[in-house]
């Protein structure tokens, strides 16, 4: 599992061995339920218990703006700032030839269709502030250019070389407010 090293895995296993049977059963149950219920929103690709997620369903969200992120976790991170009121689009990855991920593996054509259907006026690209995220941002900006809409990026507001998930809420809020247009 991601971010769990050998020693942490051993500690978790030991904890489960020592834990009461009911507690372990409850955990297994929760994991199975999560696996059964949670899926990806058919619109934005974020996590959802229904076909369409609460954010995409919410009539109060601004449908003229879409924020593009790499992973569902980024949606939760940005939501926690309360700064952003538009919709999302989750790529489920980033350009990375070393991992065998190219443009065709990211949901870019789907993003284009959503932009046209919703009449989106601005796309905010919020990929991670590292070389893969930046390359992905450039690629999307290029691909969307023919649509003639406003394309912005929060890149200048977040510390380079990190992960969006590690930026604190203040930094993220400021990055959204200070987002720069990609020409």
């Amino acid at each position: 599992m991601p971010t769990i090293g050998k020693r942490t895995a051993q500690r978790l296993a030991l904890y489960l061995v020592k834990a009461p049977k009911e507690e372990v059963a409850a955990l297994v149950d929760a994991i199975v339920k999560m696996k059964e219920r949670v899926r990806f929103c058919s619109q934005c690709g974020s996590l959802s218990e229904d076909d369409v997620c609460p954010i995409c369903r919410d009539p109060k969200r601004d449908r003229s703006v879409i924020c593009v992120v790499e992973e569902p976790g980024n949606v939760m991170r940005i939501e926690s700032t309360g700064e952003y009121k538009g919709l999302y689009h989750v790529l489920h990855g980033r350009l990375s030839p070393l991992d065998g991920i190219g443009p065709e593996d990211l949901a870019i054509d789907k993003l284009e269709r959503r932009i046209e259907n919703l009449g989106v006026k601005e796309v905010i690209i919020a990929t991670n502030p590292n070389v893969e995220g930046e390359a992905t941002c450039n690629y999307i900006a290029q691909a969307l250019k023919p649509l003639g809409i406003k394309i912005t990026s929060i890149a200048t507001g977040v510390p380079i070389g990190s992960d969006l998930d590690f930026a604190d809420e203040m930094t993220l809020s400021r990055a959204f407010r200070g987002r720069a247009e990609i020409k």
């Binding site: 070389v131 893969e132 930046e134 450039n138 690629y139 380079i160």
Partner: protein, 368 residues
């Protein structure tokens, strides 16, 4: 920062040794192959995270042992810092003040400059030696250079993988253009900082070279990028970017054929000229030795000016110099703060008294 004390465990020919250094002049004495250079090497490792002459960590471990450990106590004015580098089971661990750290955290923390007999490769050797010189020297004084280097290596790996794919499939991937953009953007930033650095130290190198050689030779440090030329009117980042982008465009087909990136700071070079004469090709052995000493002293001068006085490590630098050149070098290094110098015979470090450290067969037989 200055080094106050070092402890070596299973490092090279040292089983367990503690050395205390003086604040300014330190002279490490001993016959050949007793461990004098190893001691300097250990200090250098605490400074930049790597040996100046050995690429394989395992070769630094004392014969028959399974790990090495170097611990140094440093002082930044009165603030005490402890740096620890240990290697075992093919893993290197670094701690700064008891906190786990990465190799990049070390670079520029203590600040070291080393001059050693291997340095002759700076003029005579392969381009990689000169790139490494630039990378270590600039990284220690400019954090953004180090960050760009790390980012560049990542872009290079990604782009090479893509070119390899293109070579195999015979098709140009649609995302090559964004990797081109990144390569140029980060690569040009690195080239720009290298140009700036060479320009900044050129005057010092020239003055050092003239003092040691007692000539009036005009020194030029000329950066030589692969695939394009930079001359004096390339004075902006945009100018470097556009030169590099053009070169990249014209080379793209060849790159796909070969399956890897052909231009960029990872293949660039620089040369050392005196009165327009490239010392690598047309310099005498004496001129080449003088040139590398002049560069190393300039590196230390630049570091002192930009980030604070470095710990200057001088490995047997007087061995190949005649008396007059030795005197000139002594005068030159008198401006540095902490100097740690090895020699197989007693040498004068100017008027200041030196702390004597004597080594015999991996043992400290005299310290102070």
């Amino acid at each position: 920062m200055r080094i106050h004390q070092i402890r070596l465990t299973n490092f090279r020919n040292f089983s367990d040794a503690v050395v205390t250094f003086g604040e300014r002049r330190n002279l490490i004495l001993g016959r050949n192959a007793q461990g004098k250079t190893n001691l300097l090497e250990a200090i250098h490792i605490l400074g930049v995270g790597r040996s100046h002459r050995e690429r394989r960590e395992a070769n630094l471990v004392k014969f028959g042992e399974t790990f090495y450990r170097i611990e140094g106590v440093f002082f930044d004015k009165s603030v005490r810092n402890v740096i620890e580098v240990a290697y075992s089971e093919q893993r290197k661990r670094i701690r700064i003040n008891a906190k786990e750290a990465r190799p990049v955290d070390l670079i520029g923390f203590a600040g070291v400059v080393i001059s050693s007999p291997e340095d002759i490769a700076l003029v005579k050797g392969a381009p990689g030696v000169r790139r490494l010189f630039l990378d270590v020297a600039i990284s220690q004084i400019r954090r953004e250079y180090l960050r760009s280097l790390q980012r560049y290596v990542r872009v290079l790996d990604q782009r090479n993988k893509l070119l390899k794919q293109a070579q195999l499939s015979g098709q140009m991937p649609s995302d090559i253009s964004v990797w081109n953009t990144k390569l140029v953007e980060i690569g040009a930033a690195i080239v720009r900082l290298r140009l700036e650095y060479l320009e900044e130290i050129e005057k010092d190198v020239e003055s050092n070279f003239q003092k040691i050689s007692r000539t009036r030779g005009k020194v030029g440090l000329i950066y030589k990028p692969k695939g394009y030329d930079v001359d004096s009117d390339v004075d902006s980042l945009e100018a470097v970017e556009s030169l590099m982008a053009d070169a990249l465009t014209s080379l793209l087909e060849a790159e796909v054929r070969r399956g890897y990136t052909l231009i960029g700071p990872h293949v660039d070079d620089f040369c050392f000229k005196v009165d327009g004469r490239d010392l690598r090709l047309f310099g005498s052995e004496g001129e080449q030795r003088t040139a590398v000493l002049a560069i190393r002293c300039a590196e230390a001068q630049e570091m002192k000016a930009k980030r604070g006085a470095p710990i200057v490590l001088l490995d047997d630098v007087f061995a190949e110099l005649d008396d007059e050149r030795s005197r000139a070098l002594t005068a030159l290094i008198s401006e540095f703060d902490q100097i740690i110098l090895t020699s197989s015979r007693g040498v004068s470090l100017g008027d200041e008294a030196a702390r004597i450290i004597e080594i015999s067969d991996g043992r400290i037989v005299r310290n102070g």
